[in-house]
Symmetry: C2
Subunit: 297 residues, 2 copies
């Protein structure tokens, strides 16, 4: 029967024998396929865009491709969902109908609570674990994909009610195969931290880019502006889904950010040199601590 994975043998199945499906052949999914090329038995791509599928096949990124997962799709031992977060959740909701015998599932979404909830709601014969590789680019699509996107980067794994030892080991083997570094973390904790270190930075970066566009003020800008505004280039659908699915944590991080911006603004309005100097010194010390404690260069 197509699509059957025998859970009792999955643990022992060597990584090289895996048939891996990747839903979404954009920057993340395409890079994953490139990184896994030659290391697994089958790479089967799923992407709604015909031009992307043609390109992926022509360049050998995947062995086979189709627009969407159906009951007639080839058997897959591991399905990796490299889609915007709400598309991941929707696919998880549809999965029991498409894979009645179950399969192994991993995702790459940047908000984990909603994904882990949807994975936990899968029937018991599914094995699923949430994933979030901490890497990306300000460009998107298969054309921007590269085999080394994940190399050396951290890859968060979030347990679900459907996380078995087998799926965890399989995810760890995949992370090793692409050269990334695994971190096991609770989804709630993940979403609180990533709101502060990724989702809020996107918002402030996009706000900055929006603030100069009317007058094209970037004509007089340098590397500082380039770096602080870089995240504004993030794929719109991906960003929209992250912001909406991690809304509460993002709003909390934004409130803290704005309270500190209030403090700064009031000190500047007063011309309060002492308060400003303290504020700046603390930011400078924080940056030094970040660099010292593992801030990536």
């Amino acid at each position: 029967m197509p699509g059957v994975t025998d859970d009792n043998t999955s643990t022992a199945q060597p990584f090289r024998q895996l048939r891996v499906g990747i839903a979404g052949l954009g920057l993340m999914g395409g890079s994953l396929a490139l990184a896994l090329r030659g290391q697994v038995r089958l790479l089967h791509g799923l992407d709604r865009d015909a031009a992307t599928r043609r390109r992926a096949l022509r360049e050998g990124v995947v062995d086979s491709a189709e627009a969407m997962l159906t009951a007639g799709s080839p058997p897959l031992d591991l399905l990796v969902l490299a889609l915007p977060v709400r598309a991941i959740v929707q696919m998880l909701d549809n999965l029991p109908a498409l894979r009645p015998a179950g399969c192994g599932v991993l995702d790459l979404g940047s908000a984990k609570r909603v994904v882990v909830a949807a994975m936990s709601a899968l029937p018991e014969h599914f094995e699923a674990i949430g994933g979030h590789p901490l890497c990306g680019k300000e460009t998107s699509g298969l054309a921007a994909a590269s085999a080394d996107l994940y190399r050396g980067q951290r890859f968060v794994l979030c347990p679900t009610a459907r996380t078995t030892g087998a799926i965890r080991d399989r995810a760890l083997a995949l992370i090793e195969a692409i050269g990334a570094r695994p971190i096991l973390l609770d989804a709630d904790e993940h979403d609180v931290i990533l709101a502060a270190t990724s989702h809020l930075p996107y918002v402030i970066s996009a706000t900055l880019m929006r603030s100069v566009v009317e007058k094209r003020q970037w004509s007089l800008s340098a590397s500082g502006f380039r770096d602080v505004s870089r995240l504004a280039g993030g794929e719109p659908q991906v960003m929209l889904d992250i912001l909406l699915t991690n809304r509460d944590e993002l709003l909390a991080a934004l409130a803290r950010y704005r309270a500190d911006l209030d403090f700064f603004q009031e000190a500047l309005e007063r011309g309060d040199e002492r308060a400003l100097a303290g504020w700046i010194a603390a930011a400078h010390a924080a940056h030094a601590a970040y660099r010292r404690e593992g801030g990536i260069a």
Copy 2:
């Protein structure tokens, strides 16, 4: 008489014959000295820090060095002020007493209105032009200086009431000598634009860094966080002087930024998908336009 520059001959004086003083041997002044090495007759450094002076002399960054400019300092054809903005203004105020015969002056400060005002108030036998090279680093000090910091970068020149053709040509020759690209711009316009593209980005970058320091949330961060928070590492005294001397324009830019952040936050609180999608799409389009229209890579 030491310190005399004959204005009538200065135009004709070849660049290689210039005796150049650089006040401040930090990242900007040190890099300028390295870039000018071998291209002028004398490089004389002024820096209050004895260790910096020793290092600059030991490494041949300058030919001679002393703690501060005095009436007994060697004659200088061009004095470049590579100091925090308020220190530049203070030195300009003291200059008539130290160089009674006048001299050529250029500065490298990031806020130009106050500097241009102080230059314009110099006695008539001084020649002075405001300058702002659009480059930098998140590290500071002579140890971070490099001969190619200015190469290919834009270098704004702002006319003052003391700007003669001779000092403008001399500044242009210096800009050419260090491989930068000159832009002539009014100081008011400079300060409006730089508030939006440099000073505001510093503030939002520093606020972000401050917002994660308590819980060390950067332990789960990637290249996006690194880039958006990078400016928090700017030299504190340099940043304090910029914020205080370009306060009104920065507050105006901050007000526009916060109004847009209000819009975003309210849309997110309402879960207004359509408003958020439009906001994100406009940021994405702005980033693409920035890249297309000369955003530096």
